[in-house]
Amino acid sequence: MDTKVRIRVIVIAAVIVLCFLGVICYPHGEEEIVGFPTSFQRMKENVRERIRLGLDLKGGTHLVLQVQVEDAVNITNDLTRERLQDEMRAKSIAFADVQKGDSTHILIKGIPQEKSTELQSLASEQFPDWDLSRVTGDPTARQVALRASAAAGIRNQALLQAMNTIRNRIDQLGVTEPTITEYGRGDYMLVVQLPSVDDPSRVKDIIQNTAMLTLKIVQDGPYATRDAALAAHGGVLPPDTELLPGKRESANESSGGEAWYLINRIAAVTGRDLRDAQPRPDENGRPSVNFTLTRDGAVRFGRVTGQNIGKQLAIILDNRVFSAPTIQGQITDNGRITGSFTQQQASDLALVLRSGALPASIKYLEERTVGPSLGADSIRHGVVASIVGLVAVMAFMLVYYRGSGINANLALVLNLLILVAGLAYFGAVLTLPGIAGVILTVGMGVDSNVLIFERIREELRLGKTVGSAVSGGFEHAFHTIIDTHVTTIVSALILFTFGTGPIRGFAVTLTIGLLANLFTSVFVSRVIFDYVLTRREKGAELSI
């Protein structure tokens, strides 16, 4: 064999070996670097690990949710209003009222003229994210507006924090290989993919649970209605208190109904002070949640419980009083939340408390669940269609181009091998449209060979020798092959940028397939031709 041809054959052989290794080797654990399979069973497992299947082939749930980031801005507004009032009182700046405008605006009323400059300096020193301005038509009123950049910062922070908290919760649930990514442009949406989860309701509830835990002292209660509670205090809430609803706490478990409590506004302990939460049976053996506090939290908790023995401590989840046990003695670093939980509910609540509160609420926008049986069916259909398509195309090439048809078919098989190996090496996900992409690669890939062969036939018809006809064919066809592949790859790239899951799988498969095709149809086919030409006798016809 000619040296040039020999080198090229070795290159091709190396590529084939690399492809095989890429698909059937998978390192398990740290000792293995390559992970060559030791048995047929192991090889099948390796292939299954290498070729990642999309949700539409494996089964699983795909969720699109939107983080309601305005919630976080509203919370900042609430906190700022409180601080503003405290600061103004501390500096003896009289005011009539501090109201909330919309999420980014606060309205202060009744500022006396002489305190104007003091208020201005207070605002610029203590509240740098807010802009103070006058209100037209009311000389004693001021408007405080949140800076756009600060607001954007809060919103983005809320999104990131939500993403992390959700990831935390899903990890704790033990879902294999979930993915959580941002979705769309600028609408604070997330995509969550949960493979093999075919009943998403429990996961959705866990993700959605805002889980804001606060512990506050109960001043008074329980009252049957909100009005009754207000009436008991002359229609006006005492300073620094709020009214919150909860379930009626009674010795008899079964009696339900609402109960309203008058609660201290300032929390003794919040979710941020939690170190851990675990589901444990309570003293009656019923499921409950035990929580432990951080050191700072424990100190604060100890102080508050020590000062309020005999009063009730409200355990508040998401602004509803969950339970309000009486404080029997000073408690420092742990506590218990009891209620009519099932084991599952206690476990889920503990999980959600451990992962931290969500900074904003979650709204679900899209939910797709593919059952595993449908996934298995799709795989089977895809494989059958691929094989039929492949066989049909290969048969045609043999009949139409005779000997050269074998050339094209060899190149095609290598093309598919490189495609599959490419998917494994890049860790790309194979979806059902991805399998369609494989079939399309088969159809369009053999296109390149047809271009070349038709050109060779033309050159032969013009009377050129076999050698120069083959060279001429490859030369002339090369530019057209590049052009056609580029246009399709550009389409695929656009699809990849704008598409989601299954469509991305299609774009990736088609692109890798066409790039591999450039190699197989131009380089490999040429090598096979060269090899055949060196073997044949002078003057013999080329089987094409």
């Binding site: 769309g184 449908l374 069916d377 089977r380 449209p433 369609a436 656009i494 704008f498």
Partner: protein, 408 residues
């Protein structure tokens, strides 16, 4: 073997026939869209709820409809899905039906409750095996311990039972059972399913006659976002192609190619409307692929035209285009034919899920090939004829480029 031995067909002469045929197809498509008041959008764009259910035997659609009406889901649509022996049904709810509820999956829950009411309810205390997850099965096996594995330690037992549960559920899910088994005895062929295991299953599980295979719920915001995006993406695709061909050839070539491809997209959508097929997200993906593919084809012909122009500057453009098409005819028909074979296989054997995608490509491959000959090339000829120049040597811009090339 050769199909086309040196064809000499007068393509450009027949251009009025082509335009006529195109007009007929376009008008038919537009009329169909008008009559149906717009395109039939799939759930991706419309929003709503779809639940795919498989039954052990042919379902009584009227009974299902009656039950749904009882659950206040009277506007639900039910249609058969897949082959006759598959016993599959899609139950659909429009966005409007669940608008009152805040929860996205209110519709799905209602449908599932209706199904449970009609088909699912089993003896109290038992779990439906046909809709159980591997975890549920494993939990029951661990508690009952039919293989007496508790002695080996609870971790070992858990692992073993989890593997067994997965094997059982996989068996149920794989074709031809595809998610439903009629009798627990069918599980006998699973490795590790001893009679004791089967007895446990029989005690703790019953078999409903249906299984939910797939659910899709798309909220209103996502639906409308996607509609807008799909339009932009298609326009972006066409724009990118225009730029590329402008770069490789000349502006008029680019315009001709884009018009031809746009025509392909319109006709494909028209045929979809005629056949009353849904336009889903994967169909849009296929349309974009079609844009790329149609360009492919057009480029091959344009390449040959450009080569011939370079070789024969004095030739009448009309004849030159004809000759170019004839020269590339063999190759054009062949590659389209081969791609057609491949996507036809996908259409016939690929299953229901990929059906819309495959149909788009099947139509698109044929129309794409047709448009390179029948639309793109005549546009080129029209342009040069209107410019009053029938000989390429009279076109100054081409001549400059040619002499520049010759100088190099």
């Amino acid at each position: 073997m050769e199909f086309f031995h040196e064809p000499k067909i007068d393509w450009m002469g027949k251009k009025w026939y082509f335009i006529g045929l195109t007009m007929v197809l376009l008008v038919a498509g537009m009329v169909s869209i008008a009559l149906r008041r717009g395109l039939t959008y799939g759930i991706d764009f419309r929003g709503g709820t779809l639940v795919y259910v498989k039954f052990t035997k042919a379902p009584d659609l009227d009974a299902i409809r009656g039950q749904l009406r009882r659950e206040n889901l009277g506007e639900a649509t039910i249609q058969r899905f897949g082959g006759a022996q598959e016993n599959e049904v899609i139950i659909g709810l429009d966005l409007g039906a669940t608008a009152s509820s805040n929860a996205l999956d209110a519709g799905k829950r209602a449908i599932v409750m209706a199904l449970e009411g009609l088909f699912g309810a089993g003896p109290a205390g038992k779990v439906d095996f046909n809709n159980a997850s591997p975890q549920t099965v494993a939990e029951h096996l661990v508690v009952a311990d039919p293989l007496h594995l508790a002695s080996k330690g609870s971790d070992e037992a858990m692992k073993a039972y989890r593997e067994l549960a997965e094997a059982l559920v996989n068996y149920r899910n794989s074709p031809p059972r595809s998610g439903l088994i009629g009798d627990l005895g069918e599980l006998r062929s699973v490795a590790g399913a001893t009679p004791a295991v089967l007895e446990t299953l029989g005690k703790d599980f019953y078999l409903s006659s249906y299984a939910v295979r797939n659910t899709e719920i798309v909220g209103p915001k996502v639906g409308s976002d996607l509609r807008r995006q799909a339009l932009y993406v298609t326009l972006a695709g066409l724009g990118a192609m225009l730029v590329y061909i402008w770069f490789r050839f000349e502006l008029i070539y680019g315009v001709a190619a884009v018009i031809a491809t746009f025509h392909d997209v319109l006709i494909t959508i028209g045929i979809f409307s005629l056949l009353n097929k849904e336009i889903s997200l994967t169909v849009i993906a296929a349309l974009l692929t079609l844009v790329g593919y149609s360009m492919n084809d057009t480029i091959v012909v344009f390449d040959r035209i450009r080569e011939n122009v370079r070789l024969n500057k004095r030739e009448n453009f009309f004849d030159l285009v004809n000759r170019s098409i004839n020269q590339t005819l063999s190759r054009t028909i062949l590659t389209s034919g081969l791609t057609f074979l491949a996507v036809l296989s996908l259409y016939l054997f690929g299953g229901e899920v990929i059906h819309g995608f495959a149909l788009t490509l099947v139509i698109g491959v044929i129309i794409g090939t047709y448009s390179s000959i029948a639309i793109a090339s005549p546009i080129l000829v029209f342009f040069y004829q209107r410019a009053g120049k029938t000989r390429m040597s009279e076109k100054p811009r081409i001549l400059e480029r040619e002499t520049a090339d010759a100088r190099r």
